[in-house]
């Protein structure tokens, strides 16, 4: 073996104290594997929720926002000195349709970031079957484009969504609506809008996204059908849904679209505010747990090295008498820390991967209420493994540094003299 003498000594010390070395490595192993396991689980879960939010939310939604009537024009000029006679401003009854929607669509299509764009008519409706009523909303869409954007197909639990384009008065309803009204594909359902009349429609399919708020309220119809329900003409569009090539750009692109079109552009982050907050809180909890585990592992290493140095005081003095510098002694003990870290770290990486892999194989059911989630959502994200190595090295280094420096400072004469 052509190892450096410091390394040889470090390894000998580690191997003559196998038990302690093992215990210290186990500490690191536990910390690293937990780090990987929990990061994988968190990222997997977050990715799943993010992805499933995209299964119903576009990256950007452009719509006509209801504005509060500005009845107190005088306030702008003279502030509180004005006397208000009309006290309660009401929402202005506006046409929720957009002006020249197809012109806007053509304009937005020119954005290089835009991958997909489709118009939609949304209306609040009441579903009726027999004498049971359920409130909800209907989305008038081009179902083929909707499928491209949100993968409608994977959520279908019965029927065929293509029938929306073929069947006159066809409607695709959420599983929640179907359950409450006890309806099946092929049954009829009455839909009543605020503006229009009752319309009897035929259910061509039932879908489930796993998100209760969607499945309990949302139905899909052909866009022309929805316009009819509302008693509007063919140019009536309430929303323009846009998907980008990179959803991380949604915020900036949305702001530019607002300026150009004058309509409200809501990006997916705004639409899923609570999701992002949940991510953040989970990250904080996770990082504190991992921090504590690594801290404990670090103390394990610190402890064993401190003990070794205490026991080896005399030997450190001998080494120094024979010409080992403080730096060489530091290296001997720091290397011990690093080998403990490497050993524990490597096994930890492997164990972390195996745990993650194992859990990703755990079947958690295929009930439609879970949407498409069948297995634990684990992500195998390479940077997590790099991070784990960095944290492991950092922890062992910090834990080894102080004992090693103490060893370097041993005064050989004091020890040898006794």
């Amino acid at each position: 073996m052509k190892l450096n003498v410091n390394t040889q000594i470090a390894i000998t010390y580690l191997s003559t104290r196998k038990k302690q070395t093992l215990v210290a490595s186990l500490g690191v192993m536990f910390g690293i594997s937990m780090f990987i396991f929990m990061q994988s689980l968190m990222k997997g879960t977050n990715d799943y929720f993010e992805k499933s939010s995209f299964s119903s939310t576009p990256h950007i939604r452009l719509y006509n926002e209801n504005k509060v009537a500005n009845t107190h024009l005088m306030d702008n000029a003279i502030k509180d000195a004005s006397v208000k006679i009309l006290a309660n401003p009401k929402q202005l009854k506006q046409n929720l349709g957009m002006t020249n929607p197809y012109g806007i669509i053509n304009l937005l299509r020119k954005f290089p970031e835009v991958a997909f764009i489709t118009p939609q008519v949304t209306a609040n409706v009441i579903y009726t079957s027999g004498n049971v009523q359920v409130t909800g909303n209907i989305a008038g869409v081009s179902i083929v484009e909707e499928d491209k954007m949100f993968d409608v197909q994977q959520n279908m639990i019965s029927g065929d969504f293509h029938d929306l384009d073929k069947v006159n008065n066809g409607i695709l309803i959420g599983k929640g609506i179907a359950d409450k009204l006890s309806l099946h594909t092929g049954d009829n359902i009455t839909v009543r809008s605020g503006e229009g009349n009752d319309m009897t429609m035929r259910i061509v399919g039932i879908y489930a996204t796993g998100m209760k708020t969607v499945d309990d309220t949302r139905s899909y119809a052909n866009i022309v059908q929805a316009q009819n329900i509302m008693g509007k003409d063919r140019s009536y569009v309430t929303d323009i849904k846009i998907n980008l090539k990179d959803y991380n750009q949604a915020y900036t692109v949305a702001r530019r679209m607002e300026v150009i079109t004058g309509y409200k552009a809501e990006d997916w982050v705004q639409a899923n505010e609570q999701l992002k907050t949940a991510f953040k809180i989970r990250a904080i909890i996770l990082n504190s747990v991992i921090g504590v585990i690594l801290l404990v592992a670090g103390f394990g290493i610190y402890n064993i090295l401190n003990m070794t140095i205490y026991e080896k005081m005399k030997e450190i003095a001998i080494l120094k008498a024979q010409g080992f510098s403080g730096r060489a002694v530091t290296s001997i003990f720091l290397q011990q820390a690093i080998y403990i870290g490497l050993m524990g770290g490597t096994i930890g990486l492997l164990l972390g991967f195996l745990l993650s892999f194992g859990l990703s194989r755990v079947y958690i059911g295929s009930s439609t209420s879970m949407g498409s989630l069948k297995y634990f959502p684990m992500s195998f994200y390479f940077p997590h493994y790099l991070e784990a190595i960095c944290f492991g090295v950092l922890t062992t280094f910090a834990a080894g540094f102080f004992p090693a420096r103490k060893a370097a400072k041993v005064d050989p004469v004091t020890i040898i003299r006794g």
Binding site: Q8, T12, Q322, G323, S325, V413
Partner: protein
């Protein structure tokens, strides 16, 4: 012809402050020429070990000046001193002090591995030769703590010689040896000084050992009372 000076001490003075201030070394000045075999004798507690630690560069807490191989070492950094010890000084402790987790062979090899002048294979060969000199080659692959005191002491002396140091210092190096092995060590020391020009400075209680060396320095109460010339 004036021989080279291997070691020169000028006005070395040292105090211990604990428990009470005590001057252990008082203005010690002397020279040792290259290839000389010097013994230091004196009553127990007169400061021989303390002086040897200063000469070995391990103890830096003293007043005065020390030169080794015509190079001033007083005031040098600890790293420099470590290198000087590794290269030029072989030290044999009063008690054997081997590294118990290593084999005897490894114990002898370590200072040479540290120096890194020879390949590990050459070092192993050389270490084995040194063990042979002292008749402990049979113990080469045993752990150091499995040997008797006398055997350990001989391994420790072999270790001090591994880097062919210019100066070999010993604090009662034969204190644990029987008369036969004391004779063996003495003969070897003499050979090192006569044939290889290595300098030897040994503290000893053995009057016979001291008498047969080139020169005997006598200490009393922290002072040199006789330079033995």
């Amino acid at each position: 012809m004036m021989a080279d000076i291997a070691l020169r001490a000028r006005n070395i003075t040292k105090y211990f402050h604990d428990p009470v201030t005590l001057q252990v070394l008082k203005n010690i000045s002397f020279e040792v020429t290259s290839g000389e075999f010097v013994s230091i004798v004196g009553k127990s507690g007169c400061g021989k070990s303390t002086l040897l630690y200063v000469l070995s560069t391990m103890d830096t807490d003293y007043e005065g000046e020390l030169e080794i191989q015509q190079e001033r070492v007083t005031g040098r950094s600890l790293n420099d001193l470590a290198r000087i010890r590794n290269e030029s000084i072989g030290f044999v402790f009063q008690f054997h002090y081997l590294l118990p987790d290593f084999t005897c062979l490894k114990n002898v090899m370590i200072p040479a591995l540290r120096l890194g002048r020879l390949s590990p294979a050459e070092i192993e060969e050389k270490a084995y030769e040194k063990l042979k000199l002292f008749g402990v080659e049979e113990q080469a692959l045993k752990r150091a703590n499995k040997l008797s005191g006398g055997q350990q002491q001989r391994v420790a002396i072999a270790r001090a010689l591994i880097n062919d140091p210019a100066i070999i210092m010993g604090d009662e190096p034969t204190g644990n040896l029987d008369s036969k092995n004391t004779g063996l060590v003495f003969d070897l020391f003499q050979q090192l000084s006569k044939e290889y020009g290595q300098t030897l400075i040994t503290v000893t209680h053995d009057e016979d050992f001291a008498r047969r060396s080139d020169r005997t320095i006598v200490m009393a109460d922290g002072e040199i009372t006789s330079h033995g010339k």
